[in-house]
Subunit: 682 residues, 3 copies
């Protein structure tokens, strides 16, 4: 049983080794001023902790730890393994990664190691063990944080060999591998495991073949390399975890994830974690719904349990093309958005702004000016004060949803590696489009994996579920048979888990479930558009909607036609269908449409299963709810720059930030937040 | 004397080794249903035929060949050498190519071998010989097909050495080489053949210096490397051909070309071929005239003889950015367009759609659904039935043209390597622009090489003939002296075959022929435009036309001015000229103009030499004619989506698809085709 | 004391070794026809001068030198070291550079050597010595020209070692280096000089991270590598100079620079030069003000002394995307523009147009046509005749300015390496924007280095002076204290010379001088705009101006607000400020505004310090003045295509091109030039 975290965490990454010791006392004083109760450290300090292969220098960290303990500040202790020391790269050069261009990198930057390197594994395990041994008894050590933002792929000969071993384990025989990879195509039959070559830009990955993403001459191989790399990160992380658990078996462990980060299957990586945490760095054009989606995805990685917001910036970033300031109120608003979706922390990168190197213009809690008498300083102070008063009952409170959106990394990889039908196939975009339709209506959504249990959901939405295992298809069918509503789209049910096409007519895995046959799939170039026109004799859709990118040519096999295409040789043929199947229904959307169609379709489906908004509010206002024992905490987030007004439901509610009863009509200022608590049964 | 092909070939690439044997009987049944009479195989099966250096496995292919023979299906037998087995790359790694970035590639993809590799040549010759020996006596073996879509350049040390040998043969002495390459510029004088370095991105090719194409710091070297590589492909192919001819001297041989494919001088490669064939994969924005141009180019490669359409897709492709469906009728329309321009086959890639790897979403005759009860299945059935009834007299029928358009690969390379005057210089674009002017008027055109005999043509058009040998210039002048009409454009006659400028004033090679001196050549940036304004006192041009990209500043030296520039400091100076020379005339177009100018100019010139359309038809309708002994077959192709009406000429005509007499006004549906046969004398 | 150059130089690069000897006599005749008095040679002839390691072939050059001497043509003798012979690269392959991708280049192109290569230094020193020894006594040898357009960076292991030595010298200890590079960030603490790795694309430079320029994961390292490379070019050049000075200590030495060429700190390189010269190749979209700026920058490199225009093209270039012709009059106009800004030469690349290789379509004085009876030939003749009559008193005449614009290479590098706040930060663009405001008002400007003495200037403008040494900041403050006017902008005063942030609040170095505190810096994406609105109660600015890219959020600390922002949460906060400091004033512009704001602001400031235009003229007319003993030469350049009229000031003036008195109203034709001389005192 791991130790629980018993308060809302507020603070951020702390890098005292960038500063002279005389700054540390000031750090503590300013932390106290802001009500900071937690810091993460020492994320990149390996070189400072291990100056040479046989030398360790923990003295400065001991002092910092003692100072934090004395001031009752929690520590999330990071292993510093995201950047090995320069001497290590020099002495063990095979630790450096080989990129997809075949180039062995030189020391520099960060996450610049071969994830399978035996030397790296040996040294990273060693430093993790040293730290765990040394700091195991600090009572303020609440969480371990392994390395930092894993993600660099390697294509070296050692990785090639590990890949072969991984394949042997997965496929057992070379015959199975040949079948799974369809190697008869283009004469790639393998006769020896040694014949396997990692897919790279000098073997079979095609850089930028389709715009900004990699193409591949064998998608099955490419997807397996992604799986292998995901497993490599997992075992690299577990190597450190094993060392740590020798000393602190009861301290939970996390690593910081990055939302929709394509290179790693986070559902796989998260299996090993005690806590899931992530770093939230939206670009300036990301809508609030996309941030919300990533929070819900992170909660899904945590299997519905509360998670941690490990990093965000108090103000502007530095590595975007344009690093716009967070407007007044936005930092607080987005902090509560994290909590609203299940976060039990508001942590920042970083505590004190660095004076040099590449992130010196990334905002920090203490800016270059060195004091808190700034707009952001005042906002941080207000937020810290509020969080300190938040009811700790919220810590165990969980979000609840009857709608699940399925998100699957291998499917993402496979769909976007696909050569054809269209370069504009974009998995995150379409998943977000469906998510947004629920978000706008304030209907809670869980984001779940392809392995998730679907029982208990009313609606399961799996946009572009291109790659589907037989097991997943069977579970989805059972879900519908038992009365569930399933929604999927074009480019779904096509291929099995090895990216082999499921024979017998598209969408192979779901043809009977959906009651349709997709005879052809048209790919429209950007200047080509079509329309979705609501059919007569149904009350799900009305009106006409612009569409494009993909248009399936469909024959119904039992399904009811909800809308048809408006133009081209398949005008009048089905564009949206509904099929009764067992006790449930399965919907198919055969094209990529404008937002309004999804709003209406998801709205109608929600009405059918009596899913209702958490609260009726004006546009631009987000509402979520977390449920604790006997109480519900409702979060109302006004993303508008201007004030908004809505009515509370009848009943007794308490303003959780002001600890006062509230009721009736509420007016929230632009970017303001209301959290209210309501007693409930169960 | 090679064996003739005695029927229209209908079928496609057949890859039975991708499927279990129990599918093969179904393949035959479906082929029979579609009237398929020909398959191409086994294009990429090297790894399946030669599992190890000393092992061969022909058993499965024997079975397939027997099955095809029993069912009277012709075989185009491909050597499988476009993709060597993985074990071969592993054992002989110098077989793998080095790219222009200096990177030795790893095994993967296809055409991934050094074309000059001795090991590759040895093994590819061996497998070709084995196949020829084994299958020589099959009566249904009608054609050999060497490898597949050659084209990968190599820059390895062995290629460097072969390049030096090639140069020694071409230039004899290092002094000649220094002169031809103008090495005094930038101090590149060579004193030893070993000083020669292939032009690559790490020596002197500049990637993307001018937008999307390579620049070069010495164009003469770069052009010679292209010539050398073209010759390398030729000798690599001939190495296989020599082995095959030991066993089947009377079976013709082809390889599949790709139209305007820049890396290989196809006129050079085609010299060795018994049949010229090509793969027709237009992008969705290619106009019908561009496809027609490529058919005519292929017929030009075949020196006017009928050719083969080796590959096209029955429906969508997979490797375009947007793989739009072929609209109803388009597959049939484009199939007949090939025949109309001289093809004696309609073959597809591929017979049965692959379940895995990178072309699984490329359409096939038998789709993933596994049956023919589809829109495309029905279209294929209709086409197969029609082709089976076509008069075989058409097989020997040839196209005839009095207009020749000159197309030259070394000129293409040199013009587009050129540093200056403009990055928008585009050879295929301008050649197509001139071709289109004839195409729109349904005046037949031959596309001929720089070595072609010009005697017998009324008009020779050589757009942007930048690089001109003395021999070619002399033949063109003789052609005009003898009464021919010659048309050329800006950026012509400038350089000799080594890309050395011809002295004495532009356009050096053609100054006297054209009766002009080009003093300066202005290059306009995209936002700059000028105008071509028809001159008084001539009846060739009228009106005013937008122009840009290049504007020559011209002084006439005997030529008549047909049009002048409308703006800038050379306003009023010649833009289009006509020069009487011997019994003929030579035209010069000094700029890149809008379509209408070329339509009018080529129209006027055709009238002058009494070239008339094959048939008067509405816009968007293409008409060509093939002439057999005593009969002419006229093809009318309605590229419009809507119906069209036209009148047949007087006389007796037979509808060749319906075997019925036709006359008078004809209405063709959108995308429909009419072929009629007319008895003629001679 | 170096020999003076005693006449205006007119001529260009001469490459006789590209031509047979029988052309040389014709060259001389044509030179005489054009009044050419100077040629530069033999720029790239190393391979022709040294056919093998132990062979030299000076015979042909002796003949050329004798011919030139006999015809009284000056020689600027170039060492031919910009392109080593092929045999040398082959024999000493480590002489070839390694690029930022880690690829050792092969022989080809030019400037294709490792600038630190011991072999290259040995051979380049040797050939320089041989030439100096051989031609030392030629009286027409007026100037040495080292190599050509230095600039290729190298990242080889030898350069890495030299970089470490350079760092040891600069920083003394590894501790100092760690501090200067802020290596505690991301764990980059170094314990050994061997730990230093040059910043490259396979260590820590990120190609195209921000659009078209390199990012860097440690800007301090990247800037130091640029400094080290600048010093490497300097020592490489000095190596040749030392050899030359052994034989011709009194002949001045130059190398040809390229204006705002980013890779080399030209202020550093120019320290070693006797003459500063540059090659002027504007792109077709460069405004006249940008060319003027580069001339003034070059004069700044020469510390205000006259400089040489070493290369320009008589007509079109060849390596631009679109090589537009120079319109009639433009070649002459731009030639006089060079002289107007301080050039004592009008030299061209090149004399006779090459027949082959990559610059054959670059215009030359003698074009491919081989004669001068061309538009450009006539323009060159007119110009040569005019220059021959110019008063040689002008040779010593200097430009004088009371306005200095500071330009600093390390600041340029650092500002544009910066990760944040905006990828649109562009140093040359903003410097030119401020320069243009003076240029349009014909107020002379000096462009000065960060080391320049500011005493004597009325106004010093330092746009985007991001990186500031303590010494520079002190000198600027002293300048203002003493009564000067200082103008700076957003993103100034932030970092010290190692790119470490100056603590205590932005703009650290200038906070007290400017009387402001910049609390935050907003970065606007391209679709975001704001406005600068003139404040009440001041008479410097009026109206409202569009702005974007960067907007600082400012608190005044004594400064007067001249304008405020019009929108967003900082609407009404300062956008332009003025601070009284000592006897002077300091201005801050907190955003990137449209042209009109700078015109008005600089205009107002000039009025305050009584800076007036050289001459009142219409728009598009440029006026500069050079001052000799007792005379002022005023240049009036009409950049308009149409004629313009203006009035001469009272007094006696002589038309310097026609040697005739002029006065009163003057009308200049489009692109025409007037130079008039006025007697002055002192």
């Amino acid at each position: 049983m791991k130790k629980e975290i018993t308060e809302f965490l507020y603070g951020g990454d702390y890098n005292p080794d960038q500063w002279p010791e005389d700054v540390w006392e000031n750090d503590i004083a300013l932390m106290k001023e802001l009500n900071v109760n937690t810091v993460t450290l020492p994320v990149f300090s390996w070189a400072n902790l291990q100056p040479a292969e046989d030398q360790f220098n923990f003295g400065w960290l001991d002092k910092v730890m003692d100072l934090l303990l004395a001031n009752q500040i929690n520590v999330i202790m990071a292993t510093p393994t995201a950047a090995q020391p320069a001497w290590m790269s020099r002495k063990y050069p095979e630790m450096l990664p080989v990129d997809a261009q075949g180039r062995r990198h030189k020391h520099g930057a960060r996450t610049n190691f071969c994830v399978n390197s035996p030397d790296y594994r040996r040294f990273s395990g060693q430093i993790a063990a040293k730290m765990a041994e040394r700091y195991q008894s600090y009572p303020n050590l609440i969480l371990w944080h392994i390395s930092n933002e894993y993600g660099t792929y390697c294509y070296c000969d050692h990785c090639a060999q590990k890949f072969r071993e991984w394949l042997q384990k997965r496929y057992g025989s070379i015959e199975n591998l040949n079948h799974a990879w369809y190697t008869n195509f283009w004469g790639h039959t393998l006769y020896d495991w040694e014949d396997v070559v990692p897919p790279s830009h000098i073997s079979s990955l095609i850089p930028n073949a389709f715009g900004n993403r990699d193409g591949a001459t064998n998608q099955s191989v490419a997807v397996d390399y992604n799986r292998f790399m995901s497993d490599s990160f997992l075992s690299c992380m577990e190597n450190e975890m094993a060392q740590i658990r020798k000393f602190t078996p009861d301290i939970p462990i996390t690593t910081n994830l990055m939302g929709t980060f394509k290179p790693i299957d986070y559902f796989r990586l998260s299996e090993a974690l005690d806590y899931v945490s992530w770093d939230n760095y939206p670009s300036i054009h990301d809508p609030a719904s996309l941030i919300a989606f990533k929070h819900d995805l992170t909660r899904g990685l945590a299997k519905g349990k509360p998670f941690l917001l490990m990093e965000q910036t108090p103000n502007q970033q530095n590595w975007q093309p344009y690093n716009t300031l967070k407007r007044p109120g936005v930092m607080r608003l987005w902090s509560y958005q994290a909590v609203a979706h299940g976060a039990n922390s508001v942590l920042f990168f970083q505590w004190r702004q660095s004076l040099g190197a590449c992130e010196k213009y990334h905002a920090a809690m203490v800016p270059h000016a060195g004091h808190l008498n700034t707009r952001i300083g005042r906002e941080l102070k207000e937020l810290g004060d509020e969080l300190a008063t938040l009811d700790n009952g919220l810590l165990q409170a969980t979000n609840r949803a009857k709608v699940a959106i399925l998100f699957d990394w291998p499917n993402w990889w496979a769909a976007e590696y696909s050569s054809g039908p269209s370069k504009d196939i974009n998995y995150v975009r379409i998943v977000h489009n469906y998510y947004r339709a629920f978000y706008k209506q304030n209907i809670p959504v869980d984001v779940v994996s392809a392995q998730a249990d679907l029982v208990g959901y009313d609606i399961v939405v799996a946009p572009m579920l291109y790659m589907t295992s037989a097991d997943l298809a069977a579970r989805i069918k059972q879900f519908v048979t038992d009365g569930g509503v399933f929604v999927t789209t074009y480019f779904s049910g096509i291929a099995n888990e090895n990216d082999l096409v499921i024979t017998g007519g598209y969408p192979g895995a779901f043809r009977d479930l959906l009651g349709i046959w997709v005879e052809e799939t048209d790919a429209l170039s950007p200047e080509m558009r079509n329309a979705v026109v609501a059919a007569d004799g149904q009350n799900v859709l009305s009106g006409s909607y612009d569409c494009g990118i993909i248009c399936d040519v469909i024959h119904t096999e039992g399904a009811k036609v909800l809308a048809t295409f408006g133009q081209d040789f398949y005008a009048g043929q089905p564009a949206v269908t509904e099929n009764q199947y067992g006790q449930g229904r399965a919907y198919y959307v055969a094209t990529d449409s404008e937002e309004a169609l999804l709003d209406e379709l998801m709205g109608s489906i929600c009405k059918l299963v009596q899913q209702e908004p958490v609260l009726a509010v004006p546009e631009g206002v987000e509402v979520t709810r977390r449920y604790a024992d006997g109480a519900a905490f409702t979060f109302v987030l006004n993303h508008n720059a201007t004030e908004t007004t809505f009515s509370l439901p009848d009943g007794e509610h308490t303003d959780a930030l002001r600890q006062a009863p509230i009721s009736g009509d509420i007016t929230l200022k632009g970017r303001d937040v209301l959290i209210f608590c309501t007693q409930i049964k169960g």
